[in-house]
């Protein structure tokens, strides 16, 4: 047994520009204990609900996170719709699926790029982000914002996509998918990439469930849990089957995310084929009274929105449980016993989004 050294990691660190601090207790090169620290940028958005009308708060919920912004806004809307029993028109439900999946593709591509950067493959990082740029263009064209969509609205969506545009999107998506295929070959088959990922950061099936892991972290450990299976939006009509891997390591998480890219493309295709004509929003009358838990699947995992209203235009309580918050305990688990050089890549495999954790 060697001498123990505590190495502070972060809040500014080489992995990603997000403030997480870890105290790594090391014995030689091996990490034996980890204590995380977040909370450098706590914004108190949950408290802001008492000052803003519940309809206007959608725009703040949209900005909880810069990457999964649409799903945040949508889940907030779902929570209010749950309290007020609002029926969302089918076309809006399909539009929500399409935008959610675009947001998932762009988030996973971002993650793949950052991972490539973390294990020192800069070209691959640029290649994946180049593909992401096409997705961002489609998003900007259809919603008006590059990353902050601003397309959700309580009772439906703010904008519609014309049927011609939907067909164009499908054509573009085909080209993008071919590019993704080219890139993912490198992630899945390159020996240097594999040597950094295979067998690193094993999270066993039992641990993943017990520690409350969510999203690709949980699915890479062999659980077929995806909130999209408990139907919300229009997922129940699209024959959704979650992607599951049994390797439990970093490579498995990478495979899950790459397979989800293709799956999202399929879901968009199905949604475009099935999208019905009709209205895109229902008018809301009255104010929310009651409480509701809304859950949805973000690129990073399950997000939980809790709202409580008392019949006035300001809600009384609003709470977001972001996926990264739930993935912190599994992160501690995989970091304990790893090599110091693997810390950056392991921090990345949970796809951390600290800024949205500190809503």
């Amino acid at each position: 047994m060697g001498k123990q050294t505590i190495i502070p990691f972060g809040p500014q660190h080489p992995v990603l520009p997000e403030p997480i601090h870890l105290d790594l207790v090391c014995e030689d090169e091996k990490v034996v204990d980890v204590i995380p620290k977040i909370g450098f940028i706590h914004r108190g958005l949950e408290k802001l609900i008492e000052k803003k009308e519940f309809t206007d708060f959608v725009h703040i919920a949209d900005r909880v996170c810069g990457i999964c912004s649409f799903i945040h806004g949508m889940t907030y809307c779902m929570a209010i719709e749950g309290v007020m029993n609002i029926e969302v028109p089918p076309r809006a439900q399909y539009l929500r699926v399409i935008w959610s999946e675009f947001s998932r593709i762009h988030s996973h591509l971002l993650w793949l790029g950052l991972t490539a950067d973390a294990f020192g493959f800069e070209n691959l990082f640029m290649a994946t982000w180049r593909i992401r740029e096409h997705i961002l263009d489609i998003i900007e064209e259809t919603t008006g914002g590059r990353v902050i969509f601003g397309a959700s609205k309580i009772g439906g969506t703010r904008r519609d996509i014309s049927n011609d545009k939907l067909k164009d999107i499908l054509k573009e998506l085909e080209g993008i998918e071919a590019q993704i295929r080219e890139c993912s070959e490198v992630f899945l088959k390159d020996s240097s990439v594999k040597s950094r990922l295979v067998g690193v950061g094993v999270l066993t099936k039992e641990d993943a469930y017990k520690l409350g892991a969510v999203g690709p972290m949980l699915r890479a450990s062999g659980h077929d849990y995806d909130v999209r299976m408990s139907p919300y939006a229009a997922y129940q009509e699209l024959d959704f089957v979650p992607v599951v891997e049994n390797s439990c390591d970093s490579y498995g998480r990478c495979v899950v995310r790459i397979k989800e890219l293709y799956q999202s493309c399929r879901l968009i295709e199905k949604a475009v084929a099935k999208i019905p004509e009709g209205a895109i929003e229902t008018k809301i009358v009255g104010f929310p009274k009651g409480e509701y838990f809304a859950r949805s699947e973000q690129p990073r995992g399950e997000v939980v929105y809790y709202v409580k209203g008392d019949g006035t235009k300001m809600l009384k309580r609003f709470r977001v449980r972001t996926p990264t918050f739930a993935n912190l305990p599994p992160l501690l688990k995989v970091l304990t016993g790893c090599q110091l050089a693997d810390v950056p890549i392991l921090v990345l495999t949970i796809d951390p989004c600290i800024s949205c954790t500190e809503r």
Partner: protein, 113 residues
């Protein structure tokens, strides 16, 4: 053969145009209906202050007595809510983004009421 594969991809890339744009010389035109910046048709405005009250970022400042309407584009989050709520429809969203500046524009809106 890795060498043959590599040579073929190198040749393929050589024949391609660059993926990036030469930015200050070529600017990608903004998409139609993209959320760029808020503009106001000031003669129509009645300075009612609804946009100021509803703005999630407190970027708009209005004063009915002195007939003032200002927006801090650096505080604005481009959510387009003010355009939706304006009773006179004098606000609109331009698809081009606000230009960079060396000074902070507009008054500092107070957070407290």
């Amino acid at each position: 053969m890795p060498i043959a594969k590599m040579t073929s991809s190198v040749l393929k890339i050589l024949g391609k145009k660059p993926s990036t744009r030469a930015y200050p010389f070529y600017k990608r035109p903004a998409f139609k209906d993209a959320r760029g910046k808020i503009v106001i048709d000031i003669p129509l405005c009645i300075y009612c202050g609804i946009c100021m009250r509803r703005c999630p970022a407190n970027a708009i400042f209005t004063n009915i007595k002195e007939k003032v309407w200002t927006i801090d584009h650096f505080r604005c989050v481009n959510c387009k809510l003010c355009v939706d709520v304006c009773p006179k429809k004098c606000l609109s969203m331009e698809s081009d983004q606000a230009l960079p500046s060396t000074t902070r524009l507009g008054p500092e809106p107070s957070l407290k009421k």
